[in-house]
Structure formats: structure tokens, C-alpha cells
Amino acid sequence: MITMTHYLVFSLLLFCISIAGIFINRKNILLLLMSIELMLLSVNTNFIVFSHFSNDITGQVFVFFILAVAAAESAIGLAIIVALYRVKNSIEINLINKLKG
């Protein structure tokens, strides 16, 4: 029997992987974007799980919103990356530290 705990642990694992992806990855900014997507997915999983087990459809509706926003977000992110690449000829994260104090 697969209980809610299993789902939640799965979602947590997904979330941890994505976080690890953000700060272990030092090379490629695309991977960063993918990690963020993954993070959103893990959150979405949570929504679905809770919605299923509490018999409330609102959570699943909300997931669609999030998916839509995530799609828009990644589109903008990719556009920024392209623009960045045109300027700097590279998308390596190590080179992007303009915020250094």
C-alpha cells in the first residue's frame, strides 16, 4: 500500500535533488533553470497528493496555474540566457558574479 508519506518523501527527495542541483552545479546556467523547474514539480506533487487525500479538487486546479506560470517563467529565463550569451559569449555561472560585494 502506498501511503501519503511515500508520496511526500518522494516529493521531498525531488526537492532536495533540485536544491543540490542549484548549488553543486557551477558550470551551466541551463541546469540551474532545470533545477528550478524540478523544484516547482516537487511542489506540484505535494499539491496533488494533498488534494487527492483530502478530496479537494482545488489543489489540482492550482497545479495547472503553477505549470502555466512555470512555463512562462522558463520562457523568460531562456530568453534572458540567450541575451546573456549574446553579450558575454558564455553561459558559465562562474563568470557571472556581478553582484560580488
Binding site: 536544491i19 542549484i22 548549488f23 553543486i24 552545479n25 557551477r26 540551474l32 555561472i93 562562474n94 557571472i96 558574479n97 556581478k98 553582484l99 560580488k100 560585494g101
Partner: protein
């Protein structure tokens, strides 16, 4: 009368303002004549007042012209208190001032700043009159500072001369040391009587419970307040150790030396103590202090005069020494005796200075007596006047100095105490010293051979110079016969000291037979042998005398003391400025704090590397920590 008293200061102030602020339309000579006339009118007014005061017995004029400050209970006015004491002083000041005005018309005629000079001396006379007329301590202080200011301006009259501008700064600063104590003394008196007014103070003096007042440094309240007032007088009247400014003040024009630094301003200290004599009368310690200061000044400053070679400086040291006599007399409460010496001294010392001025003019601004000599034949009038002045100062019988100095010595001897006996002896030796240095000056300048080149070009000055000399010579000769007036003179309502005086003839005969005459005769022969005949003695070359001589020539190192302390002040000042103000407050706190904060932010800055994954890590890490803490708290 009241109107006359108002007019005297006003006349002088107008004179000062008109001459000082006038444009070039007013010529030199007319400016000189104008201000002399105004002083002369004031002199006439003052003699009317003097005459009136003496006509009515026990009359005291007292009034306020003007309320300077009135804040609730505090009232300070400008007014006058004229009794016999101040009426005489008023007359002396105006007389000397008038004489000097006239003299200066000729003496200063070459100067570019002729009018500035006249403006100054009128302003001086104004301040001095304010001081003399004063009916309260603040007015006294205003006049006191005023004369100090004009003295400062006049010593620095030749402002391009480095020595002159050094001397005037020195004079002002040393006077300010005195003033600091003076104002403290005034504050003490005010705290006691809640008034600055002489009359209120004198009336209430018997009501004060002196036993229950605070005492400071082991001195009673009144002792300390009078001591402070006297320190003010010490600076103004050039007493040891605050005398160092007076010899240097000779950098000013000579008429000034006569007016300010001999006859009037330097005697302001004596006048002040006399004016406040009801207070000084009640102090023991301060009186002894005054006596010691006065008699040591009289003796030791006289000694310096023997070795000086600048004609004006010799007279300056003799002034200090004579002021010492006056102060010593104050110390035994013989205020009017002291005032009598002030009176006669004003004439003969002004005379000596003006004669010196005449000599200096004739010798084209040479003041070195080693380059003079034999001037007797060339400057006969000046010689006679100088001789009269000298005879007066050495106390030659029947001249004015004889009366006043002998009276001081006798009163001193009559006062039965150890200190006054010691002082008596010091003053007696001082009298001998006076004879020696005065006659030395006379012999070196007027007798012997001329040592400064050609004698033929020297000639006597014009009548404008000589008339004042003659006038002063007459006063020097005869002013001593007023002795009775001074012996009987009350100050305010107090006839303070019972002075032993039996009439003119007994006094003269007694004076001639007194030890002072021995000093006179000894001094005369010593001076004659040493400086007229210029004989050399082996004894004078012995080790001890040479040592003594060089010791006296150092002037007891008082100058060095003041130079040292002023340099020390400057050093401390720059040290404090650099170490404390800029170093500690600015460097450590004001600029140091931002620097520390800067350093801290440098450390914190390294946390923000600009890499996204660092931020993300920090973010997650902090979340974990915070949740950890919350969990730990819950569990």
C-alpha cells in the same frame, strides 16, 4: 558740579573720537591744539572741583550718571564718587595729561600717525578718569582695562618694530594675568555684599560676620579677596614678579612713558588699594604680603637700574622701585602716605621722562647713555630740569621727594612689627640705591665728555618742549609742601591711619637728621667717585662683586621665566591640539568609529561572492538552522 564731572570724561572722549576719526582736513598741528585745549578745559573743571571739595569739609560727591546694567537685584552704574582722595588724583591725571599733550605736539610732529597718537592719549585720559571717578568696582574695572588697552596700543605704536609689538603683547598679557585675579577678587566682594557699589560695601562692612565665611587655602575670605585684588594691582603697578612688562614698555614713544608708564596708569594699582582701603584695612595676611612685595620691589628693582645703559630703561626701573615704596606704605595701612608719594612721584618722574625725551630728540633718537656725556653745556634748560627731577627722586631736603619718601620711612619705623622693621631697612638701602642710580644717570649724561661723536650739532629743543619741563620742575620742587593735606586726608569717610606728624619744621629737621640723610650723603659720594670721577677700585673687581653684578644684570631671570612659560603654553597648546583633539577625539572616535565599521563590512562583504549557488546554499543552510532551532524549542 555734577555737570562738570560729566563733562570731564565727555570732553576727552570727544577729543579722542574727533581726532581719531577725522579725515585729512584736520591738520596735525590743529588736531594737537584742539585736543590739548579740550584737556585743558577738563583740567580747569577738575581744579574747580578740587577747590570746591576742599572748601566744604566732609563733602563727598556721589551720583550715578547712567545705569549700565540692571537685572533684577543686580545694578551696575557708571557714575562718580569724588572725595578729597579722588579729586586730587583727578587733578594729577589731567595735569600730567595736559602737559604731555602739549609736549607731544612738538615731540611727535615728525610722525605720520600723529593724529592716531593724540586720539590714543585722549582715550587713555578718558579711561583713567573713568577709573579714578568710579563709584563701583565694575566701573573701576572698565577703566582699568581701558588704560591697559591704550597702553597696549601705544607700546605698539611703532608697529613695524618687532621689539615694540613683542613688548605690547607682553604688557597686555601680564596685565591680563593681573586682571584675571582682579575680577575674581571683584566676584568675591560681590558675593559677599551683593553689590559692586563702594558706598554699599563700605556701609555694610561692619555688618558682615567675617568669622563664618568660607576660607580657601587656609586664608580667610577677606584675605583672599583682597589678595586677588592686590594681584591685579601688582600687574598694573609693576610689582615683583609681574613687573617685567614695564621696562619693555619703553618701546613706546617717550611722552607715553611719562604719562602712562610713570605718572598715571602704573599708579592705578596704588589708587585702587587706597580706594578700597576700608577692605584692605581688615586683612592681616594680605597686608604683610603687600608689605613684603613692595619693599622687595623697591630694593631689588633699584639695583637693576644701576647697571642699565638705556636712559629710558633706567628711569623705568626707577619707576618700579618707587612704586615699590608706595606699595610698601600700603602694606602698613598708610594709604594717604602712599598716595602722597604717588602725587610727588607723578611730577618728578614725568619730568625725568620728558627730559629724557628732550635729550633723545636732541641726540636723534639715541637712548644709549654710554654714547652721551657732557650735555650740560648744550642743553642747559633740560639739565636744570633733570637736576631738579633727580634731586627730588633722591629725596634731597626740601624737594618734594624728600617729604614723601621720608614720610614713608618714618611711618614704617613707627609701625611696631618685625616685618615692617625689616622692610624699613630694605627701603633705607633702597634709598641709597636710588641715590646711586639717579646720580649715575645725571653724571654720565650731563657731565664728563661727550662720547657719541660731534657735540656741536646738538641744540636745545623748542619752547613747546621746554615749557612743560619747567612747569613740571616747579611742581617737583614745591608739591612736597602739601604734606599736611595728605597726612590729614580721609579716604571716603575713613581717616584710617594715625600718622605721627607735628608740623612742617619739626618734620624737616627730623628728616634731615634721619638715617635717610646718611644714605643720601653716602650715595652721593659713591656716585660721584664712581661715575663722575670714574675712579676704579680693586674691590669692585673682586670675585664676589662681579658675581653680584652679573646676578643683578640677569634681572633675576624674571624675563626668562615669562618667556619660558609662554613657550611652554604654546607647546602644551600644540601638543593638546595634535594629540588630544586631532589624535584622540577626531582620530580615534570620530574618524576611528567609521573605520572600524568599514573593517567589519569588509569582512561581511566576503560573504556575498556574487555566485548564485553560494547564495542558494546560504539560503538553504539558514532555513535548516532556523527550523532546527524552532524544532529544538518545540521538542
Amino acid at each position: 558740579m555734577e555737570l562738570l564731572l560729566l563733562f570731564i570724561p565727555l570732553l576727552l572722549l570727544t577729543s579722542s573720537l574727533i581726532v581719531g576719526l577725522s579725515s585729512n582736513n584736520l591738520g596735525k598741528i590743529s588736531a594737537g591744539i584742539l585736543s590739548s585745549t579740550l584737556v585743558f578745559v577738563a583740567l580747569i573743571f577738575s581744579s574747580i572741583i578740587l577747590f570746591n571739595i576742599y572748601k566744604h569739609e566732609d563733602q563727598i560727591l556721589y551720583e550715578n550718571f547712567y545705569n549700565w546694567i540692571s537685572i533684577s537685584s543686580l545694578e551696575i552704574g557708571i557714575g562718580y564718587l569724588i572725595d578729597k582722595f579722588s579729586a586730587v588724583m583727578l587733578f594729577v591725571v589731567l595735569l600730567i595729561s595736559f602737559v604731555v599733550h602739549v609736549y607731544s605736539i612738538s615731540y611727535m610732529s615728525e610722525e605720520k600717525d600723529f593724529k592716531r597718537f593724540f586720539s590714543y592719549i585722549a582715550l587713555f585720559t578718558f579711561s583713567m578718569i573713568l577709573l579714578v571717578m568710579s563709584n563701583n568696582l565694575i566701573q573701576l574695572f572698565i577703566g582699568w582695562e581701558g588704560v591697559g588697552l591704550v597702553s597696549y596700543l601705544l607700546i605698539g605704536f611703532f608697529y613695524k618694530k618687532e621689539s615694540a609689538i613683542k613688548a605690547n603683547l607682553k604688557a597686555f598679557l601680564i596685565n591680563r594675568i593681573g586682571d584675571m585675579f582682579f575680577i575674581l577678587g571683584i566676584a568675591m566682594i560681590y558675593a559677599l555684599f551683593d553689590s559692586f557699589d563702594y558706598r554699599t560695601i563700605f556701609i555694610n562692612i561692619n555688618k558682615v560676620d567675617f568669622e563664618n565665611l568660607d576660607s580657601y587655602f587656609g586664608l580667610s575670605y577677606l584675605d583672599l579677596s583682597c589678595l586677588f585684588l592686590f594681584i591685579g594691582a601688582m600687574a598694573k603697578s609693576a610689582q615683583i614678579p609681574l613687573h617685567v612688562w614695564l621696562p619693555d614698555s619703553m618701546e613706546g614713544p617717550t611722552p607715553i612713558s611719562a604719562l602712562i608708564h610713570a605718572a598715571t596708569m602704573v599708579t592705578a594699582g596704588i589708587f585702587m588699594v587706597g580706594r578700597l582701603s576700608p577692605l584692605f584695612e581688615l586683612t592681616d595676611f594680605t597686608n604683610s604680603f603687600i608689605l613684603i612685595i613692595g619693599s622687595s620691589t623697591a630694593l631689588f628693582m633699584g639695583l637693576i637700574a644701576i647697571y642699565e645703559n638705556d636712559i629710558k630703561r633706567v628711569i623705568a626701573y626707577s619707576t618700579i622701585s618707587q612704586l615699590g615704596y608706595m606699595v610698601a606704605a600700603l602694606g602698613i595701612s598708610a594709604y594717604t602716605v602712599s598716595f602722597f608719594h604717588l602725587f610727588t612721584h607723578a611730577f618728578f618722574k614725568a619730568l625725568l621722562f620728558l627730559c629724557a625725551g628732550s635729550i633723545i630728540m636732541s641726540l636723534h633718537h639715541n637712548q644709549d647713555i654710554t654714547k652721551m656725556g657732557g650735555l650740560r653745556s648744550k642743553l642747559p634748560v633740560t639739565y636744570i630740569c633733570f637736576l631738579i627731577g633727580t634731586l627730588s627722586i633722591i629725596g634731597f631736603p626740601l624737594t618734594s621727594g624728600f617729604f614723601s619718601k621720608d614720610l614713608i620711612l618714618e611711618v614704617m619705623l613707627d609701625n611696631n612689627s618685625t616685618i615692617s622693621f625689616v622692610s624699613y631697612n630694605m627701603l633705607l638701602i633702597g634709598a641709597l640705591v636710588t641715590v646711586i642710580y639717579s646720580l649715575r644717570l645725571l653724571f654720565i649724561v650731563f657731565h664728563g665728555d661727550f662720547r657719541g661723536g660731534k657735540l656741536s650739532s646738538i641744540k636745545e629743543q623748542s619752547m613747546i618742549i621746554l615749557l612743560p619741563l619747567i612747569l613740571l620742575a616747579i611742581f617737583s620742587l614745591f608739591s612736597g609742601y602739601l604734606i599736611k593735606t595728605f597726612v590729614d586726608m580721609p579716604i571716603y569717610f575713613y581717616g584710617l591711619k594715625d600718622i605721627h606728624y607735628e608740623g612742617m619744621l619739626p618734620f624737616i629737621s627730623h628728616g634731615i637728621l634721619s638715617p635717610a640723610s646718611i644714605a643720601l650723603i653716602t650715595g652721593f659720594f659713591a656716585a660721584k667717585i664712581l661715575y663722575k670721577d670714574e675712579r676704579k677700585f680693586k674691590m669692585l673687581n673682586s670675585a664676589i662683586t662681579i658675581k653680584l653684578k652679573s646676578f643683578i644684570q640677569t634681572k633675576y631671570k624674571f624675563d626668562e621665566l615669562f618667556i619660558y612659560s609662554s613657550n611652554k603654553t604654546k607647546k602644551i597648546s600644540s601638543l593638546l591640539a595634535s594629540k588630544f583633539d586631532i589624535g584622540l577625539i577626531d582620530g580615534f572616535i570620530v574618524n576611528g568609529l567609521p573605520k572600524k565599521i568599514n573593517k567589519l563590512s569588509q569582512i561581511l562583504k566576503s560573504l556575498s561572492s556574487g555566485y548564485l549557488y553560494h547564495y542558494a546554499f546560504l539560503f538553504v543552510f539558514s532555513i535548516v538552522v532556523i527550523f532546527g532551532i524552532i524544532l529544538a524549542r518545540i521538542l
